[in-house]
Amino acid sequence: MALSTSNSKSNSNPNPISPDTRPETEAPARAESREIISQGLWTNNAALVQLLGLCPLLAVSNSVVNAAGLGLATIGVLLGSNGIVSVSRHRLSPAIRLPVFVLIIATFTTCAELLLHAFAIELYQALGIFIPLIVTNCTILGRAESFASKNALGPSLLDGLMTGLGFAGVLLVLGMFRELAGTGALFTNMDRLLPFAGNWTVRLTSSYKPFLLAILPPGAFLFMGGLIALKNIIDRKLDSPAPRQQDSTTSKRVRVTG
């Protein structure tokens, strides 16, 4: 109690200890969070670079609404599992670390499944087996093992959110491309996820000839390949404003990651 009152006073009357240490810890913390954000969203993107969680990614990205639904559920599970894993990281001996991780992930996945069933039943029916399959999404176990089990709660939550957003983003973009190419429309059935979004459907032309391949599984691989290529092109552009000689080295580095 005494400590907290002295701390609150220290705002007006600076305590010699805390102001000195704060800038030092804050600056690296900010740099660290920036690193976490860029890693999760782009540099080390779960879907585009690590190529993790491809099974749900490819299977469910045939329409925007499905992609958004699974993306949100995955973010939720990632946040939950990273948080709990981080909090309990000092209590877990190597022997039971993995079983506990799987237990935690399965628990959050089941919660996500129950919530979707209760609040978005049509989406729940459309996603089917891919909701329980979030358990097997290696991204989640990967983040628990490689990040949350070694870092404090704050960074772990941020990492979970960013990795999840990176994964969901790719899912969404893939869903948009495939739905647009496959059916000529966008945002069909959005009311399955958002009750007020029933009239969001955008149709390009009334006489669009459906491009079947885009909706079928092979289309998922084709579009995914396109996205990865696009990311590599962008990375190369960003990486080398300098002479062209460096191109070969930078492209190699990008592909090797993960």
């Binding site: 039971i96 628990t107 049509e122 029916q125 059935n189 909706i215």
Partner: protein
């Protein structure tokens, strides 16, 4: 020495078991809470979804009873009925009977098609008391996306072509797709799927005709 080693090992085992047990308990607790919080809503939503599906097959103006209550199980080999194999059910499913002012006004029959392009097609057929189809809906199927999946009402309105049809309209020789010399539109590139659904609807109607009295009285027996 040896004893110390086994003792410490035992201590480790006990400690890890306790930790693991603690996490299992925590997980069970969380799941229990979420389950309790959602169970009512899930049941409610499930009922609503079912009711919506039934309302599509059998219009609400044609019955004043709760279809979900006046239901009975249709077994694949129901002994009470004549030729239950017509429905080709692979497991027991629910049938729903409609009443209007206390009289039998129609029935919703489950039927399956096993001769589709891939997997079984699960269908609900609404049949009015006079033997006319009120509507047909496909509940679940694995037909080719973009071709055969047009039997699904969310994708195309082909299935509406059955509305108002009966065993005498068109007559039996015309209960075929146009390609086979009948009256029903086929889906381009999905002849097999179309034939399968058409055949299933016709089988459901035949079953209804054979069992009209049992089905009409099925309410009273409940």
């Amino acid at each position: 020495m040896y004893n110390d080693a086994t003792n410490s090992m035992r201590a480790t085992i006990i400690k890890t078991s306790v930790v693991l047990g603690f996490f299992a308990l925590l997980a069970a607790l969380l799941l229990g809470v979420v389950n309790l919080a959602t169970v009512d809503r899930i049941q409610e939503q499930q009922r609503l979804a079912e009711r919506r599906a039934l309302a599509e097959v059998f219009p609400q103006t044609l019955h004043d009873n709760d279809l979900l209550l006046d239901t009975f199980t249709m077994a694949p080999d129901a002994p009470l009925f004549i030729q239950p194999e017509l429905l080709q059910l692979s497991f027991p499913r629910q049938a729903y009977s409609g009443q209007l002012d206390g009289f039998f006004s129609g029935i919703i029959l489950p039927v399956e098609a096993h001769d589709g392009y891939s997997g079984n097609i699960f269908i609900l057929v609404g049949i009015l008391a006079n033997g006319q189809v009120s509507a047909v809906r496909v509940l679940a199927h694995k037909e080719t996306p973009g071709l055969g999946d047009k039997i699904d009402f969310t994708i195309s309105d082909w299935i509406l072509g059955f509305d108002g049809k009966s065993l005498v309209n068109p007559r039996q020789s015309r209960w075929k797709i146009i390609k086979d010399g009948g009256e029903f539109d086929q889906l381009v590139g999905a002849t097999i799927t179309t034939r399968a659904v058409l055949d299933a609807v016709q089988r459901a109607l035949t079953f209804f005709q054979l069992n009209q009295h049992q089905l009409a009285n099925s309410i009273n027996r409940l």
